[in-house]
Amino acid sequence: MRLREVAELVGARFLAGEELADREVSAAFAADLLSDVLAMVREEGVLLITGTVTAQVVRVAEVMNLAGVLFVRGKIPAKSTVEYAAASGIPLLTTPRLMYETCGLLYTHGLPGAKRKPLPFEHDQPGPPPP
């Protein structure tokens, strides 16, 4: 799914990187805690759906080579953060919808969730594997 389609489905507008609207999104991941994004996302090209608007979100997007960041509930980061993202080629979008609805709409239209990455503690956890 392209960023342009993501924007249309959830009624989002581009804050930065609109020229990259045809970029393909491989999967989605929804989280507010940035260390969870670093811990749980394995592949590149993932769309991060988040309510966190700190400057660090864009740094994480850069470090992880994410396809873009979609802010929910109408949230918009500081101007300096948007400018940095624009200069670094990181698309930022914002939708008035809640994270729940945003996930629901994108999931229903076929966007897959990000692949599982073993968490740092999973290799030494004796419990049963997930079904």
Binding site: L38, A39, A55, Q56, E62, F121
Partner: protein, 158 residues
């Protein structure tokens, strides 16, 4: 026996405590330097993740410190040092989910207790030395597997 790999690049990045405006920029800068030096993409990615976590630890919990990047032919090292309060129980801090983050940090999306676990999971070796009231030094080592990624390391991004 092989002779020790020569140091190819050294760079020191100061980190200012509680500077949330700029926190995270060392990690992206380190990735740029590593890509420019032709370091393998897989090492660049892991080093970026580890650097981000180490940098945020310095910013959130200490008055400041620095990050030293060392690039050798066979490995990359990141050394994080700070003049912070120190870590009282390192074993506890290594556990996923353990966090001493204040509420304000949690509400900004930090403090999920995955900082040290993420550093450990993404480095090949992580050494932590800490003295209460004096500070903490963490060294993360990444071994370069150049036979697997030869020539493609510098291609991604710019």
């Amino acid at each position: 026996m092989t002779s020790p790999a020569p140091l190819r690049h050294k760079e020191i990045f100061p980190v200012v405590g509680l500077d949330l405006e700029h926190a995270g920029q060392v990690s992206t800068e380190v990735q740029r330097v590593l890509r420019r030096l032709g370091v393998e993409a897989e090492v660049v990615r892991r080093a970026g993740i580890v650097c981000f976590e180490g940098e945020m630890n310095i910013v959130l919990y200490t008055p400041g410190g620095r990050i030293i990047l060392l690039v050798y032919d066979d490995r990359v090292e990141l050394i994080f040092s700070d003049q912070g309060p120190g870590i009282p129980d390192i074993e506890l801090a290594r556990q996923p989910g353990y966090s001493t983050a204040p509420d304000w940090a949690r509400e900004l999306g930090f403090g999920s207790g995955m900082g040290l676990p993420n550093m450990e999971a993404n480095s090949d070796r992580l050494e932590i030395r800490s003295r209460l009231g004096e500070g903490t030094v963490i060294r993360a080592t990444f071994f370069r597997r150049r036979d697997e990624a030869a020539g493609s390391g510098g291609a991604a991004g710019a």
